[in-house]
Amino acid sequence: MNRYSNAGWLWAWPFPLAVLALWQLSAARGWVPEQVLPAPAQVWATFAELARSGELWEHLRISLVRVLAGFGIGLGAGLALGAALGLSPTLRDYVFPLFKAFSQVPVLGWLPLLMLLVGIDEGLKFLLIAKATLVPVVVNTCQGIAGVPQRYIEVARVCRYSRWQLLGRVVLPAAIAPIWNGVRYGLTHAWLALVVVELLASSEGIGFLIVYGRQLFQLDVVLAAVLAVGIVGFVLDRALARTEAWLLRWRQPGL
């Protein structure tokens, strides 16, 4: 993680600050109308106001509960299915084509159908978010496990590892990086699915706040909500990256 060392952080600032300055300047000089792009200061004020009134937290709380529930379901099912498919070529022959077909239809393709079948309540959100998580987790887990180099397994055979030793000491460590990649993609997709389902079919949550702001032509509310979406997405991804560094800490000296 040396990319985020102190010097790296200093380098990161000039570009966004320049963009912000240009943005503020163009708003102050009236180069772009306020309805099209409100000044950053105004967006920040709206953001602070939404945070102070508690409105933002309430929407965020609802959204986070949805994401975590859907992500949890999708992750559990995805890891199990992915591991089964990765370990058994026979099962892969039977199930993978169907799974492939299922995953070809994006979350949004299922949305109208699911709206007809389960309505537009929380169930719909959980299902869609779980589906969004499931696909990358299954694909990466399966490929990660199936892609463990044959020679590692041969070495383990030579060392007379038992089945569990083979799984725990060879397959899992060799596959953990792609699996974790899948988990990260899964969370990104879950967050994506949350926002879209809230944009389309919700009366609360952070995605709804965006639609609401758009309908009232209050782009400062839209941008403030987008800012919140970005921050949460960033925090979620950082948390997973940290966990990844921790999970893969044994690899550092080797490299």
Partner: protein, 258 residues
């Protein structure tokens, strides 16, 4: 898996779908629910859509949107990703901002894009392009970054020029990652095309077919739409995979020659 020895390997993928189809047909006949239409009804609806030409109209509108956005977004993404991967200074300056922007959930851009580009075709294509941009940048950058240092050193020892280095070492080494990016971009653009059609419901497209079907409570139409969406996604991916195989076979040949 007792049956594994009786089913030839190539046919195994068909077992589950056929079982499901049989179960579905049976359930549609046995349970009388408006939510369960039989596969036959979906098929017939599909034939009507095909014969009437509605399908082609919707599909060609969607595919055109998808293709325009993909080309714009992936092209920009390749250039930006290559810069990010090749230049340390550029990566330091712009990388963190890019990674922050990337965190904004894709669909959250739609309301802003509609403010900037209106509610028509331009906003849809801009959104699709944005969907292609991010994965291509990430994977191009990672592909370039992932070229093993030893390879570069070997190339230097052999006195490779800049162009030779790019063509014989860097491009083949980064190609798989770049293709992963393009493949992801294809998946995302198709998703984004649907999303744009749902959220900016003016105009034609397969997404509009689906929401119309939902509003009119025509499950057969919705299911047919889902199948079409899946087939298109599959077709797009297969096409890209074929291109990838061609390019990677070139890579293997080159490697094999040495």
């Amino acid at each position: 898996m007792n049956t594994s020895h009786f089913v030839p390997r190539r046919l195994r993928g068909w077992v589950l779908p056929l079982l499901l189809l049989a179960l579905w047909s049976w359930a549609a006949g046995a349970l009388d629910s408006p939510l369960l239409v039989s596969p036959l009804a979906v098929w017939q609806r599909g034939l009507v859509q095909l014969a009437g030409g509605e399908l082609w109209q919707a599909l060609s509108a969607s595919l055109w949107r998808d293709a325009c956005g993909f080309v714009l977004g992936a092209g920009a993404g390749l250039a930006f990703g290559a810069l990010l991967g090749a230049s340390r200074g550029f990566e330091r300056l712009v990388g963190p901002s890019f990674h922050t922007l990337k965190q904004i959930s894709l669909f959250a851009w739609i309301p802003m894009l509609t403010m900037w580009f209106g509610l028509g075709e331009a906003a849809k294509i801009a959104f699709v392009a944005l969907a292609a941009f991010f994965p291509v940048v990430l994977n191009t950058c990672e592909g370039l970054r992932g070229v093993p240092r030893e390879w570069l050193e070997v190339a230097r020892v052999h006195g490779f020029g800049r162009w030779q280095l790019l063509r014989r070492v860097i491009a083949p080494a980064a190609a798989p990652s770049i293709f992963t990016g393009l493949q992801l971009a294809l998946i995302y653009t198709w998703l984004a095309t649907l999303g744009a059609e749902y959220l900016l419901a003016s105009g034609q497209g397969i997404g509009n077919t689906l929401i119309d079907g939902r509003e009119q409570f025509q499950i057969d139409l919705v299911l047919f739409g889902v199948v079409v969406i899946g087939l298109v996604g599959f077709g797009l991916n297969s096409a890209l995979a074929a291109v990838e195989r061609r390019l990677l076979s070139w890579r293997e040949r080159t490697v094999a020659r040495y």
